[in-house]
């Protein structure tokens, strides 16, 4: 298996896309640390991994808290060693028309989706530089390229994630570290369950494949980028959206 014993950190692995990513990296042989915001969520991740016979654990992380990040990394390093794969997946939406968007809605989304990428990437880079090998994959969104009414905050963070990846890719490529973004279209998770039915029907008309994506279909692309096979892809944004937005 291609990721044999490499330590991988996946944020927001309790459900949805992050859970699928954790599973596929573990299946490829990685030691996966999947995070959740609650103790019970973290415990459930650990149970899922061990029930499937995979290596790794669930741990608590709030990506908006530098202390929480410090604690997590200390724990990971003591128990498993330094992560050389980081998947910045945790993310939220707080949609509103810009005219109505509060400072709080803006900053919550920026802090959770984008500042988290700065904090976590910076925290794991030292280990990757020493290992002369590393993979950072940001989970972006089609909305970061396409834009979407009511999601100015979210779209800004997802476009930001891609720009961040390109810049960091240029900085640390010489150390064998790749940095990429996977930009999902509409995927069947809790995040899209809240969409009203008429909006969903409308959306499906704009997706050539005529369906929402599955979390595993995003995870497969992340796993490819993390693997040896994806080793020459860096600074790239890979769109995985059923053809809904082609650039």
């Amino acid at each position: 298996m291609s990721l044999e014993n490499k330590v991988a950190l996946v944020t927001g692995a309790s459900r949805g896309i992050g859970a699928a990513i954790a599973e596929q990296l573990a299946q490829a042989g990685a030691v996966v640390i999947g995070t959740a915001t609650s103790e019970s969520g973290a415990a459930a991740i650990g149970e899922r991994l061990s029930a499937a016979g995979y290596q790794g654990a669930g741990m608590v992380l709030d990506v908006t808290s530098p202390e929480s990040i410090d604690n997590l990394l200390q724990q990971v390093q003591e128990q498993y060693g330094v992560p050389v794969i980081l998947v910045n997946n945790a993310g939220i939406t707080q949609d509103n028309l810009l005219m109505r968007m509060s400072e709080e809605e803006w900053f919550n989304v920026v802090n959770t989706n984008l500042s988290s990428i700065y904090r976590l990437s910076k925290a794991v880079l030292r280990g990757m530089m020493k290992a002369r090998w590393g993979r950072i994959v940001n989970v972006g969104s089609v909305v970061g390229s396409m834009g979407n009414a009511g999601q100015a905050n979210y779209a800004a963070t997802k476009a930001g994630a891609a720009g961040f990846a390109r810049s960091l890719a240029a900085e640390v490529g010489s150390r064998g570290i790749t940095v990429n973004t996977v930009a999902p279209g509409f995927i069947d998770t809790d995040m899209t369950k809240i969409l009203p039915d008429d909006q969903k029907a409308d959306l499906l008309k704009r997706i050539p494949l005529g369906r929402l994506g599955k979390p595993e279909e995003i995870a497969a692309v992340v796993a490819f980028l993390a693997s040896g096979a994806g080793g020459y892809v860096s600074g790239e944004t890979i769109q995985v959206n059923g053809g809904m937005y082609m650039c």
Partner: protein, 78 residues
């Protein structure tokens, strides 16, 4: 136990892939020893490990020559 000066020079030579006798006290990492900006970051990381300390970013930026590295370690650790 080797002196701080010797330990610093050894690390600089290792990190930047130069011979130890090229690592003169007044040598600048970037101008004389061919380091790029990322090399200097890694060099500070290596010094932190060797001397079991943490060098704050704003201090690290000022360490641009071999002598400045030796001075920093002497001032903060000796």
């Amino acid at each position: 136990m080797s002196s701080i000066e010797e330990r610093v020079k050894k690390i600089v030579a290792e990190q930047l892939g130069v011979k130890e006798d090229e690592v003169k006290a007044e040598a600048s990492f970037v101008e004389d020893l061919g380091a790029d900006s990322l090399d200097t970051v890694e060099l500070v990381m290596a010094l932190e490990e060797e001397f079991e300390t943490e060098i704050p970013d704003e201090e690290a930026e000022k360490i641009t020559t071999v002598q400045l590295a030796i001075d920093y370690i002497n001032a903060n650790l000796a």
